[in-house]
């Protein structure tokens, strides 16, 4: 039976699921309920000199009837006193000694201030410290949060100060609001950090109220850019985690953050090198209870794959992420439509014509293939057809049209295999699982990358491109 137990930068964890430093970890009462629900650890809502928050604080982006594809907040760090927060940490650790409690910290960029808060947090019983170098709003205007994370030298400096004092592992939380996340990560590593966490939230304006023309979240008619998170940011987070973890000068134990809501999300972050994962938006949406399936699902996937521990697959996908110039140019796939699964929605057809390479056609019912028939011609033909209500007959099933498949032949698109470039788009838009598969074509050519072509002198790299490539 596989286990989710793991050790992260010397912090023992009963599972890799941590709550990120955010509203779900605001107070001891919440954190204890979260632990009861199954969370393995919690990064406390950032502790520092108490702030004053505004109302309102959150706004979200809905998509196609689903709520909160992305969430944005302009809330600052804890608005409760340092004493209260630390007292509650002590209480939580006393009652839940096996659970990881990480103190997220943010104070002004002064050595003594950091020394003092580190001492107090560790005295309270925190298992580790996470330095919040990522908060993109409000605090950054006061020289803290992402104002630190965006300047590698500051990152290194503060990490050094903290490491002078700290006895527990120090995790540096990175901001994505920077052109190359490896730079602050390298700086943190230089400064002696024990671990990293990424990503913090992304600068965002979620939307404008079209009645009042005021942005959201609305604070007395005005708003401010906030931090974006939730499912929408996961791909960005995965990329940044991979960038850091593939970089020798930056890689450290990584706590992955960004849109994680399911066991699949967690597995993907771990495959790119994360040791633990942190969750916020999904809990804000559905509550602590979601962790049950994250653990359950991850374990059963590990069973299927034969993994005993998280270490068995941590970072296993990192070697598969490479630079474009190392991709095999001679690898050829083409789309195949499985006629028996096709429901005749023709989304692949319109996507290929308007969004790709015009190589899917609706000509199966025609006497001969016709690649010149455009979508407009297809529609015009349908609209000019006279349709009448069928004469009612009991048991009429509507399947009047003939053909070998349940969908009429005329509605099943055909891929022009010679023209198909293997872009995947049709298989992405197809609503039916496994209806369009991308299948490898043996073109008899050996693997060859762009770099190999350039090195072989087969193509001349243009000066402009070579300047751009580092």
């Amino acid at each position: 039976m596989p286990t989710l137990e793991t050790t992260f930068a010397s912090i023992r964890c009963i599972n890799p699921f941590w709550l990120a430093s955010a509203p779900p970890t605001n107070c001891g009462e919440q954190v204890m309920r979260a632990f009861d629900a199954g969370w393995g650890g919690a990064v406390w809502k950032t502790i520092g000199e108490p702030i004053t928050n505004v109302s309102s604080r959150y706004s979200s982006v809905d998509w196609n009837g689903q709520r909160m594809m992305g969430l944005n907040n302009i809330e600052l760090i804890s608005d409760r006193s340092i004493e209260v927060n630390l007292r509650e940490i002590t209480e939580v650790k006393r009652r839940y000694p096996k659970h990881a409690v990480i103190a997220s910290l943010m104070v002004e960029s002064k050595r003594h201030a950091w020394h003092e808060i580190v001492q107090r947090a560790e005295d309270a019983g925190a298992d580790g410290l996470e330095l919040n170098f990522g908060c993109p709003h409000g605090m950054s205007e006061r020289g803290m949060g992402s104002a630190v994370g965006q300047v590698p030298e500051y990152c290194a400096q503060i990490t050094e100060w903290v490491k002078e004092k700290a006895r527990t592992p120090v995790i540096i939380k990175l901001t994505p609001n920077i052109s190359d996340i490896r730079m602050p990560a390298r700086a943190a590593k230089r400064g002696g950090a024990d671990a990293l966490s990424a990503i913090n939230t992304i600068n965002s304006i979620t939307g404008i109220d079209l009645d009042t023309l005021e942005p959201r979240p609305n604070v007395d008619g005005k708003s401010s850019h906030g931090g974006y998170c939730g499912p929408a940011v996961k791909p960005i987070a995965l990329n940044m985690v991979q960038q850091v973890m593939s970089d020798e000068q930056a890689a450290l134990p990584m706590s992955g953050i960004g849109g994680i809501a399911s066991w699949q999300d967690a597995a993907e972050f771990i495959l790119l090198g994360a040791g633990t994962v942190q969750v916020c938006t999904a809990v804000m949406h559905y509550g602590y209870r979601i962790v049950e399936d994250m653990a359950d699902g991850l374990l059963s996937w590990m069973c299927q794959k034969g993994y005993e521990t998280l270490d068995d697959f941590r970072g296993r996908s990192l070697p598969n992420v490479t630079e474009w110039k190392h991709l095999n140019l001679n690898y050829k796939i083409i789309a195949r439509i499985h006629e028996d699964k096709c429901i005749g929605c023709e989304l692949c057809y319109t996507a290929c014509w308007d969004g790709a390479h015009q190589c899917i056609h609706l000509d199966r019912a025609l006497p001969a293939p016709n690649t010149l028939r455009t979508p407009a011609m297809v529609e015009a033909e349908s609209r000019s057809r006279i349709t009448t209500t069928p004469i009612p007959k009991l048991g009429l099933d509507g399947d009047g049209e003939s053909g070998p498949y349940r969908t009429p032949l005329a509605r099943i698109p055909r891929v022009d295999e010679h023209e198909c470039v293997g872009c995947n788009l049709c298989s992405l838009v197809c609503p039916v699982p496994d209806c369009i598969t991308m299948e490898r074509v043996d073109n008899g050519l050996p693997s060859e990358t762009w770099e190999e072509r350039v090195n072989a002198g087969a193509v001349a790299e243009s000066p402009a491109t070579s300047n751009l490539n580092r």
């Binding site: 196609n64 009837g65 429901i343 005749g344 929605c345 023709e346 989304l347 057809y349 319109t350 609706l362 979508p375 297809v378 529609e379 349908s382 609209r383 057809r385 006279i386 349709t387 009448t388 209500t389 069928p390 004469i391 009612p392 007959k393 009991l394 048991g395 009429l396 509507g398 349940r406 969908t407 509605r411 609503p431 039916v432």
Partner: protein, 447 residues
């Protein structure tokens, strides 16, 4: 020429009928509509659009609901089908758009197109916004339209949008034909039909009511108008030709449905027999059940496999408690002043398919009301011989343009197709409207 009408307010208000005939398919609320709209795959060259006789761009209007553009959604519907509101309620969508939905081959539940369409149309009505079209610039041409049913209304709308005057003549006091008087109230309330026509009147369609057009009147209209559209529908329901048909308590389905819809009757006697098994017969049977009849029988000379009602109508009638007597023929109606009983003969099917009475298998059914629903005769006698070509009483037209054998005459709807759905009549009227405009333009060019 635009004159404001207020047909909606002329609708009889019968709380009792409203209570007995609540919506069979209740409206979506905003949340439900949004959820359902988001379920639509947005098919290309969508089968629902192809299946709709008026080719409403279904995915387009649904996506507009999803995007919150309700005005645009209603306009998309009306652009293809000026009676989009009543069609959303009256259409047999199981065999049209929803029957064609690809979801049947996906996860089996088709998109609730009709209810979404009604949602968009209700939203337009509630907003109080005018019809999202303006009449075209006046061409000076005018068309007389005979009958104020769906075919004529659709034709008139197309004409007005092209700047052609449209003057409608109808024998009844209110417009809409069967749309107003003939559709089960739990599908399309009479008032809703009128509300929709009020909007159409904004295009400047002129209405003349209580006018029966005979051969003489027609000849006069032909001289005062540039073209004539015949949307006269069908005529009376056939008689059985058996004894007792003149007794009180014998009626026909169309009169019965019109009477309860207009609030003239609000209750049914205990035992009702409906002769026939088509969709109209089912409407009459369900109506009797809802009006309080304790026993409702449908009498049909053939079996369930031959009945012409849609399968879903048959199922609905069974749920309403209607009993079906198959392979039975009425041979006489008993009673002195009022109907008392129906004499019936059991039939059997011979190997060649014909129906013959089984000797000695006669029985009597005690009934208080007999409703005939065995099909409608045509109503084209006034088109004196040779005016337009007829075939078995139906007006022969070119399907694409609605033009009859007489170039100045166009036609559409039940009088040409023998009796189909509202949406078929709308499609006919629309094609004819476009056809008339094209023909008039051709006449101009030739002049």
């Amino acid at each position: 020429m635009s004159e404001s009408t207020n047909f909606f307010e002329q609708a009889p208000d019968s709380p009792e009928i409203a209570a007995r005939f609540p919506d069979l398919h209740p409206p979506f609320n905003k949340t439900a509509a949004l959820t359902e709209a988001n379920r639509c795959l947005y098919c290309f060259d969508a089968p629902c659009t192809i299946a709709c006789p008026t080719h409403i761009d279904v995915p387009r209007f649904i996506k507009k609901i999803a995007s919150g553009n309700l005005q645009g959604s209603a306009k998309t519907i009306l652009d293809a089908n000026i009676l989009g509101a009543s069609c959303s309620r009256a259409c047999p969508v199981d065999v049209l758009c929803e029957g064609a939905c690809v979801m049947h081959r996906y996860n089996t539940q088709p998109i609730a197109i009709a209810r979404l369409q009604r949602f968009a149309m209700d939203a337009l009505h509630e907003s109080g916004a005018p019809l999202p079209f303006l009449p075209g610039e006046d061409t000076g041409k005018s068309v007389a339209l005979i009958g104020a049913g769906p075919a004529s209304l659709a034709c008139a709308a197309e004409l007005r949008r092209r700047g052609i005057r449209a003057e409608i003549f109808d024998a009844r006091p209110l417009p809409g034909g069967l749309n107003t008087y003939g559709i089960a109230e739990y599908k399309l309330p009479l008032a809703e039909s009128l509300r929709e026509i009020d909007m159409l009147a904004q295009l400047g369609v002129k209405f003349n009511f209580n006018v029966s057009v005979d051969a003489t009147k027609l000849a006069a209209l032909e001289t005062t108008h540039d073209a004539v559209f015949l949307g006269v529908g069908l005529g009376a329901i056939y008689q059985l030709g058996i004894t007792g048909e003149a007794l009180e308590g014998v009626t026909n389905a169309l009169d019965y449905i019109a009477a309860y819809k207009s609030g003239e009757i609000t209750s049914a006697p205990g035992r009702v027999a409906i002769i026939g098994a088509g969709n109209t017969a089912i409407d009459a049977a369900n109506a009797s059940a809802r009006l309080g009849a304790s026993e409702v029988y449908m009498i049909y000379r053939r079996g369930p496999e031959q009945m012409s009602a849609f399968a879903f109508e048959y199922e609905h009638a069974k749920q309403e408690g209607v009993k079906f007597l198959w392979h039975v023929r009425p041979i006489g109606i008993q009673g002195t002043e009022k109907v008392k009983a129906l004499d019936l003969a059991r039939l059997e099917v011979t190997p060649d398919g014909s129906l013959v009475p089984i000797t000695g298998e006669l029985f009597q059914l005690q009934v208080d009301l007999v409703i005939l629903a065995i099909g409608q005769a045509t109503h084209t006698e006034f088109l004196d011989s040779g005016k337009v070509k007829l075939e078995r009483g139906r007006i022969v037209i070119d399907r694409m343009t609605g033009q009859t054998s007489n170039p100045k005459y166009f036609a559409g709807g039940d009088c040409t197709n023998g009796g189909r759905e509202v949406v078929d009549a709308v499609a006919d009227g629309k094609r004819a409207g476009i056809g008339i405009a094209a023909w008039l333009e051709g006449q101009n060019a030739n002049a």
